[in-house]
Symmetry: C2
Subunit: 551 residues, 2 copies
């Protein structure tokens, strides 16, 4: 603080309340260090962009880990981090912008076309994964003689390691290169998150021998309630923002207010979901989808450019911060000390290896059978998942991330339990498994995708590939891919309704949705082509704008 800091500068001794000064100093230096490291991450990430192994998450993890090691050495082995891992920080500040941006930028049509498959993978797949990991842990980890682990601990391990890392998935799969896989794996990640959190909470209150049908029914009911009410809340907040901006701001646009309202309403939807005990992640994801479909078209041209890039930038900053943080957190020296005092290093490695093996096996046990099931229901070859794609889906969902760490801290590091060696080893093993899966599996993902799914050399695709973040290409693609589909599809490729229903029920649902959207939703909430003429926000001016700046 300048207020306190300047005092010690040249005029006098430090003030009496020294503790308070050093606390402020510590928080400023911690935040400052993180900001500086994020700058380094962005620059290094940019320089390594062409590198076929690395991605931004792994760079940030390495830099965080390296900084943690330096701090550990500098403090002579006392501590390795400047901020404690806090669930609040993670769930209140870092996760919402990442998931909201994912919903805002997702290709809506593809997401909804694969909705059934996504739900199948996200719900049934997660339950299968949970069962396999829990049973495996019960069978294998109990032989390692780690200490007093109860049935509840094994079940918790199942829930912790069923939670895939949707953030890392976003980084290794490219929406433009592999759109089908991206929507499947990322969509699964969002649904998976809700499932594993419900599972984790169900397990925490699990009483052994109480697997009655009533409890299973309760579990199913609470999951359905959570899923639908979270979605409803997200959609409602998105529509409210669209309606408010359409009604209030028309003819008197103010970019700053529009951008602020969009940011705050999105965040509010997350907060409300958390307050109502729902899944904020699902809510904010659907809020993002609705905002990009309605609200985004009601604002001025410059608000549109600003929101697109601001949401992407905030999400990028949150991701970088998160991976730095996890990397720095890996050297949680207190827990490592307890573990090394109690157990042999071999036992530690064995535990982490067992967990990783269970993750690999459990994901295989649901990806391949469920893909078969999904292919069996599809009549056309377009929606089928090929064997190569199945392997990529299996592989891309192997990474475990901050959600696993947060759940593990929640289960094993509650106040009072931290000193137990069996709890400490669970945390260090979780951290090891997360680091190993993110780094090793993550590094191998890009080459694997290239091997199994070589990039097509179409000039359009290629230009999007070499400049993935070029704003103009990106916005243009957004308009082409999502909106052109939604708009022109109606008039251009409209077969007879009866034939449609026979060919594909999903496509037919989509057709009726578009009809409803055009007849009722867009006139009410605005959206592409349904906003009265506003200077700078019209369709006509936006296309030449984008085209003009591209050359």
């Amino acid at each position: 603080m300048v207020l306190l800091g300047v005092a010690g500068m040249g005029l006098a001794d430090p003030p009496a309340d020294y503790a308070s000064v050093s606390a402020d100093y510590a928080s400023v230096s911690a935040v400052g260090l993180f900001v500086a490291l994020m700058c380094v991450c962005i620059i290094v990430g940019h320089l390594l962009e062409e590198n076929r192994w690395m991605n931004d998450s792994i760079t940030a993890l390495f830099i965080g880990f390296g900084t943690g090691a330096v701090i550990l050495l500098a403090s002579s082995g006392k501590h390795s981090r400047v901020l404690l891992f806090s669930e609040d920080l993670f769930f209140i500040y870092l996760l919402p912008p990442i998931i909201f941006n994912a919903g805002f930028q997702v290709k809506k049509k593809r997401f909804f076309r694969n909705f059934m498959t996504i739900t199948l993978f996200g719900v049934v797949g997660t339950l299968i994964s949970f069962t396999v990991i829990s049973l495996g842990a019960l069978g294998l980890i109990s032989r390692l003689h780690i200490g007093e682990l109860e049935l509840g601990d094994y079940l918790a391990l199942g829930a912790i390691f069923s939670a895939t890392d949707s953030v890392c998935t976003l980084q290794v799969l490219n929406q433009d290169e592999t759109p089908f896989l991206y929507s499947l794996v990322f969509g699964e990640g969002v649904v998976n998150d809700a499932t594993s959190v419900v599972l984790f909470n169900a397990i925490q209150d699990f009483v052994i021998g109480d697997i009655s049908s009533v409890n299973l029914l309760k579990f199913g009911g609470s999951f359905l309630y959570l899923f639908w009410s979270s979605t409803f809340l997200g959609v409602a907040s998105g529509l409210l923002s669209a309606y408010a901006i359409k009604k209030l701001y028309f003819g008197r646009h103010s970019t700053d207010r529009e951008v602020a309202i969009m940011m705050l309403m999105a965040y509010l939807s997350y907060m409300l979901a958390e307050l109502f005990d729902l899944s904020g992640i699902l809510t904010v994801f659907f809020c993002g989808i609705v905002m990009s479909h309605y609200t985004w078209h009601n604002v001025t041209e410059s608000s549109r450019v600003t929101t697109k890039h601001t949401f992407a930038t905030l999400s990028f900053i949150a991701e970088t911060f998160l991976f730095l943080y996890v990397g720095m957190d890996a050297l949680d020296i207190e827990k490592w000390k307890i573990v090394l005092e109690t157990y042999s290093p071999i036992k530690s490695i064995a535990l982490s290896a067992t967990i990783l093996a269970l993750v690999l096996v459990s994901r295989a046990t649901f990806v391949f059978p469920l893909s078969l099931l999904s292919n069996w229901t599809k009549k056309t070859p377009a929606g089928k998942i090929s064997m190569k794609q199945q392997v990529i889906i299996w592989w891309a969902g192997l990474m475990r991330g901050a959600v696993s760490i947060a759940l593990a801290y929640n289960k094993f590091a509650r106040s009072g339990h931290t000193q137990l060696p069996s709890n400490a080893i669970m945390i260090t093993s979780t951290i090891s498994a997360v680091l190993f899966s993110t780094i090793v599996f993550g590094i191998l993902t890009k080459p694997l995708i290239r091997l199994l799914n070589p990039p097509r050399h179409v000039s359009r695709e290629h230009s999007a590939l070499s400049e993935p973040s070029n704003p103009n290409t990106f916005l243009e693609q957004l308009i082409e891919n999502s909106d052109a589909d939604l708009e022109n599809g109606v008039s251009l490729r409209r077969p007879s309704r009866l034939r449609q229903l026979m060919v594909s029920p999903t496509r037919s649902v989509h057709y009726y949705w578009r009809k409803f959207d055009n007849a009722f939703m867009r006139p009410m909430f605005g959206g592409r082509g349904f906003v009265p003429f506003v200077p700078g926000s019209s369709n006509e001016s936006s296309i030449p704008l984008l085209a003009g700046t591209e050359n």
Copy 2:
């Protein structure tokens, strides 16, 4: 937290660690409440935009105050706020975006042309104001018999109430309507902030009877050191960001990374200043100026639109949050209870009234004499401050804000001292004075400016007036006003150098600076016209883009 919250939903009783759950719940609900209130503030502020009395700060203050009252009633008089006033929150998170944005959007040429006057007002004026308030407090407040107040307390009052509220000034003065006054009053506010913080710290370590010439010299030295090193740090960070983006990103632009780097570097400059015990406010202000002069021209078109609006939006959100917070904080019921138990209400009112009177008088004692002095040095009538303008400068700087509250809490509410009635009454009086000055002086400012300085009915000026935040007008104006000045001025209005030196030394300094800028700085760090051709960032495409979207 969804993690903890869902557990209580239908499956079982709340988990054992109830305290932790409620803490999480409290922080989520506090943040959620603030986000919801900010949405309300933005909408109400938009609806009241045409109102001649209100502005966004006063709206937010009222809404915060109202919410505080509702919470107070709902909690049966126990507490009125959901977040404690924290200096950290204010100085680490809220102030930097506001001041950075001010530097980023300020009209550079005007600011530097008035630099001497601004420094005169900001440094000498603040010292005069401090002396008058301290002496007045010593003479008047000591007669109120409030309790054990020492000389140090009176001096602290002087420093606390010398700190003007630059945030509120930004809201009542319009850069487009009254550009000269805006640059004077706002520029003074930034310098004033640094001065009053140095003063405050000097006073905290003040030993009575120790007013030696050595100490005065020390004070002057530390002020100069603070001023120049803070400015240097800000300029250096800005240049570093310009250089990094120019060197690294050329030909391979990534909007998200560019925007992220600009945001993080700006924040880093503030954090570094705080760590080095400098004035973060000065640093981040100059970093904003340098970034808008160099860095902003090195990035893509969409990054430019995004940063302009993102910085403005973040600043707008921080301001709204701040005034909500101060409004809610006004009902600090603990302190009011102590005050009402000890003193008669008349004494309370008398103290606040005395403080307000001292603020009014002390500002008058430096604005009018220093304006005379400034006018005396100016040869041309253009730079002279008219009597009407002097009255507006006097009035617009009367508001006291969050800096005063933060300093008062720092002085009178340190742990252990809070229960002293004399400390409690100082805090409640500070809050009363801040509220009164912001609301009453703030409400009267707009009409006063209209009365003394009626808006000119030039069509250009008028359109900017009715749509102050219209992005296109705004960007266009920015290019016209700041850059066209800096660029074309060289070739169009270049008189002989000798005559220039005689007419105005400031203008001559400006001429040599432009020469240096064009010959060395811009080729090195980029800037308008000095960035090699990049798709989407060229001069040629940016003008039709802005012009095209305006009609």
